[in-house]
């Protein structure tokens, strides 16, 4: 079985649009949350969003968008993108440069791309409105590929001339963790030599507000208090968008190209709650099962795990359920495992979350730190027993675990190990 390594990363996130800035925020625990201007109206009770800086994508016309001058994107490519496609395009360019990949190494039968986004509710809304207003035959010919779920993979696969496996994953907030898991499988099975894993979300009004009806969004008006996973006073999650791209390669490719990987992907597991369409299992059964399967597949004992990047989104039910799952899996080893949720800094990236936070784990493994629990005041008694460091710890860890959970009770766990 070939080993699989992370060789490149790219970020457009609320805490930075490059790896160095992201590391800086993770170390200093500076968040990327702001009072989001479109939410500052009386009819919208939630106010805070993990905003993307340096980009403007508030027009329905991609030719109005602005993005950092380092990226030049032709109209031909831009016209079929959603905002999350633009973020991901830029993150993919970063990841390609980071992994030092040449165009032939990107476009060949052995290189694939798995992506996850919730599509673009914003552009879906706009194009459907035009359908009603100007008539069926006067709608943009590219409206459909710019807006439906899958827009991310359609655009990236075409723009980067991907010839290997390509697919979109849709398990809500577990989507890009699923993408990572199945990409790992394709590499291990020898189907592909290199995979791009992409997660992205618009993170705008239309992407975030539909969660308000479920009462899962934080109503906090102070950006420093809005996202507080495991805190007794937490009141819901803060939405965010952006993109993260991760490059996975087999050990042969790593050796052939002579690149230094961030970390090794050891294995993964997934399991479902079989409980409720939107509510986590109260005991975290599915999450615990996913962690156990990931540990077994990776041949890692719970006591070997030094850090868990939790899924915890700062919702009342979800955080408790994950804390119970962690207690069940780690048992007596629990005090030794540092746990934090970096969503305190970024907000919850939905389909983007899994790969974004996995990329944070890769940065932590390479640079030798354990991200702390930002904004954590009083720990919720229901989450007692977890080792929740308040500050980022500067220490080299060897083995880390990443949890992700999505609607329908989908749970994914992935294990990473420091390279060499």
């Amino acid at each position: 079985m070939p080993r699989v390594f992370i060789t490149g990363l790219g970020f457009v996130t609320s805490i930075g649009n490059d790896a160095a800035t992201v590391v800086d925020h993770l170390r200093s625990l500076r968040h990327g949350l702001e009072l989001y201007p479109p939410f500052q109206t009386p009819d919208i009770p939630c106010k805070v969003v993990g905003t993307i800086k340096g980009f403007t994508t508030d027009s329905t016309d991609p030719e109005d968008w602005t993005f950092p001058a380092a990226y030049s994107i032709k109209r031909e490519l831009l016209r079929s993108m959603a905002p999350n496609g633009l973020y991901a395009h830029c993150a993919l360019l970063q990841a390609v440069a980071d992994a030092r990949l040449t165009p032939p190494e990107i476009s060949n039968a052995d290189t694939g791309l798995y992506a996850a986004s919730g599509g673009s509710p914003y552009l879906t809304h706009y194009h459907h409105e035009r359908l009603q207003k100007v008539g069926v035959m006067r709608c943009s010919p590219l409206g459909i590929v710019a807006s439906i779920v899958g827009t991310l993979n359609f655009n990236l696969v075409a723009a980067f001339r991907i010839q290997g496996a390509s697919c979109g994953f849709s398990s809500a907030c577990a989507s890009s963790a699923h993408a990572l898991g199945f990409a790992f499988d394709d590499l291990v099975l020898g189907r592909q030599k290199r995979m791009f894993i992409v997660g992205a979300e618009d993170g705008n009004r239309d992407a975030i507000l539909p969660f308000a009806g479920m009462r899962t969004l934080s109503l906090q008006t102070d950006p420093a208090l809005a996202s507080r996973p495991f805190d007794k006073a937490r009141d819901g999650f803060v939405g965010t968008g952006g993109a993260t791209v991760m490059v996975l390669e087999t050990e042969d490719e790593v050796a052939r190209r002579g690149v230094t990987p961030y970390a090794e992907v050891l294995g993964w597991g997934q399991a479902s709650d079989g409980h409720n369409v939107a509510i986590s299992h109260p005991e975290g059964h599915g999450s615990a099962a996913a962690m156990r399967l990931a540990l077994k597949a990776s041949r890692v004992e719970p006591a070997e795990v030094e850090y868990v990047n939790a899924h915890a989104t700062s919702t009342l039910i979800g955080d408790v359920s994950e804390a119970r799952a962690l207690r069940a899996v780690f048992g007596p080893a629990l005090p030794q495992v540092a746990v934090s949720s970096t969503k305190a800094l970024t907000g919850h990236g939905l389909s983007l979350a899994g790969v974004m936070e996995s990329a944070f784990c890769a940065l932590a493994l390479r640079h030798g730190f354990v991200p702390g629990c930002a904004h954590l005041g009083t720990v919720d008694p229901e989450c007692a027993g977890l080792n929740l460091p308040r500050q980022t710890e500067a220490r080299a860890v060897r083995t880390v675990l990443k949890n992700s959970s999505g609607f329908g009770g989908a749970n994914v766990a992935v294990l990473f190990r420091r390279a060499a």
Binding site: K74, R75, E76, G135, M137, R138, P141, L142
Partner: protein, 324 residues
Amino acid sequence: MSEAAATPTPPNKPVAPAPKPFAPEDEVTLRESLKRCSPSTFEAAIQFRKTANPDHVPAVVIGVIERFVEPDLRVKLKDADDDLRLIEDLGIDSLTMMEIVILVEDVLQMSINNEELRNLRTVGDVKTFIDCKVRGLPLPKPTKFLPIEHIGSVMPIQPPFLFLNEASVSSTSASGKYKITGQEFFLQGHFKDNPVMPASIMLEALGQLAVLYLLEGAPTEPGKRVSPQTIFFTGCEGVRAHRLCKPGDLLSLSVKPKRMKMPLATFEGAIRVGADKAVIAEEITLTFGFVDIVEAPAPVAAAPAPAAPEPAPAAAPLRAAVNA
């Protein structure tokens, strides 16, 4: 506003331009629709919407096409040659074509069928098409693009005396290209140490394009087709050569029928090299005749019977001509 919503335009039905007077709010919408087009495009559009004068249509159509062409290719549209090809020369794909159509529909207040779009290959095709739609004229027969293989298979004239590399034929005109390679046999002696394309050969090339038009574009009688064996040169008038043409020059040929009545067809023709006028022929007249259309012969009959000493494939010299 509610009125417009209550009576939506049925899709895919040609409509008369601007049925109601052009209101100030229409100008705002129009300006928004054309915000990425040149000011002259907007001016032409507003004139068309106010006056319904079809003379403004070409400027609108060219302006809309320009907006969707990548900036580095826009220069090609400056001297808008009607032969400019949308895909090959301007990089417009079928989706971009849809974007162009939707904006033209929006600006000129008309509807265009999917089927009507398929045959638009050149800027000229688009202009003619939109013009016919606006004036309510019948749409022209689609332009056919003929590669060298097709030209060679239908023409009575063959290499080394065929001076067309490719051609486009519609029911109203034909255009073609020929690149002077320098390998043409007659350039050996025309002139000594100074190869110049003979004017007589350039006239011949125009005549050949007229032959191709008769075979592929000309209207015929029902059940009849023009027979290649019946076409011959009868005369020409007003021929002038304006420019020396030498190896490396790409000749752009065009002919348009002026009169056609069996057995005579008279054309006007021109050759250009880039933007330069090279040859003008006010009239080239050919004779032609019809034969009955018969069922295609059985495949056996198509096989070449006599074995040539060197059985080179028939298409080889044609390909060589195109690759040269």
